[in-house]
Subunit: 229 residues, 2 copies
Amino acid sequence: MRQAQQKLALEVLGASGWLKDYPAALIQQLVKEGRLVRLNVGEWAQAEGDDRSGLFVVIDGSLHSFCAAPGGRAVMIGVVGAGAVLGHATRYSGGPRLVTAVCVEPSLLLEVSEASLERIAVHFPEVWRAIAGFAYDNTRRALQMAAEVISLKPRQRIAARLLAAIDGGGLGGTPTLRVSQELLGEMLGLTRKTVNSHLCSFEDIGLIRSGYGHITILNEEGLRNIANS
Amino acid sequence: MRQAQQKLALEVLGASGWLKDYPAALIQQLVKEGRLVRLNVGEWAQAEGDDRSGLFVVIDGSLHSFCAAPGGRAVMIGVVGAGAVLGHATRYSGGPRLVTAVCVEPSLLLEVSEASLERIAVHFPEVWRAIAGFAYDNTRRALQMAAEVISLKPRQRIAARLLAAIDGGGLGGTPTLRVSQELLGEMLGLTRKTVNSHLCSFEDIGLIRSGYGHITILNEEGLRNIANS
DNA sequence: TTCAAACTGTCACCAGAGTTACAGTTGTCG
DNA sequence: CGACAACTGTAACTCTGGTGACAGTTTGAA
């Protein structure tokens, strides 16, 4: 069991973008030093402002991530799946965690503490470079999201978000999002009604297929055209 | 002249958040390996998608940063001043630059190339940790921005942005933003009219003073109340 | 199998932001 | 010092998207 989980962790880390150019020995070390944590639906992987330092890598399952806006509002940022990294070494990088992540299906995470990272860095100082790498990736995504919300109208925004979601979804398999229209609206700063009417229109022209609690992308190109319009 | 600039660079780096916990020798090395670049108004420090790797640290002056949204739209992200870091080691961190930065006043930048970083890392591997640190900070700001645009109504959003701007402004001196209402609107995804009317209302209740091309914050607390309302 | 909870589809109403346009002011560069 | 460009203040009109409400459907747990 534990064996199988470790094997899975090795695979997921090896396939993830931020580690793929690093030696296998570093990945093995991360798995060895890390601690595998199993979470059930509704449990929090980390809370915003949480000061536990360290890294969480999603090995299996998926979580919803939230971020706080002024006025105590919680804004859903997105869905994170296998290969994603949550938070990181806070002691040296200047702040508490940025997001709150909640399990939406039973998930397996690899927790690598700050101390473990220090130990790993003794033999593999490039681990910090790898961390800088995914931090960059997170920045890119966040910026992209901000730019979309600022400059796109609702219709374009919805299309852009659907595309971004399948891009970040990771698996590369069926481009299906497990998100309700309600949640999608929350992520986009729109009401369910607005989301619904646009989704219906997308469905009419064959770009997507929407069902109970999920959306299947049928025509990426068409969505891209709308997003760019 | 060059001496004075290098001295200034040392000061700015030493005072910047992302390097303040690192040894002075690392900072000296960065200045020594880096190249001081003087830019005039309208010149581009870096273009989005630009593949020159390396780091730019703003030593003096200020730049406007933009990011691309779908459809070829350019979205203004913010104003960066002394101490800010633009872009970073792209070769290992997986992507081209995220933002385009344009000088709005004569500025001095310290450019540290990818190769220089590698050289520095030989003696100071923690330089990558420092880079991860400011990447984290950039992520935080971008996320915050996205969260605000998603969840706040225009009035709250304007207040929140004014607060964020003085926070990131860096100098700590007079809380005055050198931004036109037009530009502020662009950054917020609002029209100038909307921005204008809310700014007037803020001015009426004594929270700010707005002049030709600039805004002075008089009452942070009051703005915070509006942002949180 | 049944029931409650969660989700989608739809409606009428309306506040508020976008649009377009113009006048008046401030700064700047020649 | 004069002309031009950039910026602010304001108004009338339009229309999108938010609000609140309700019915019908799917899901999953009791």
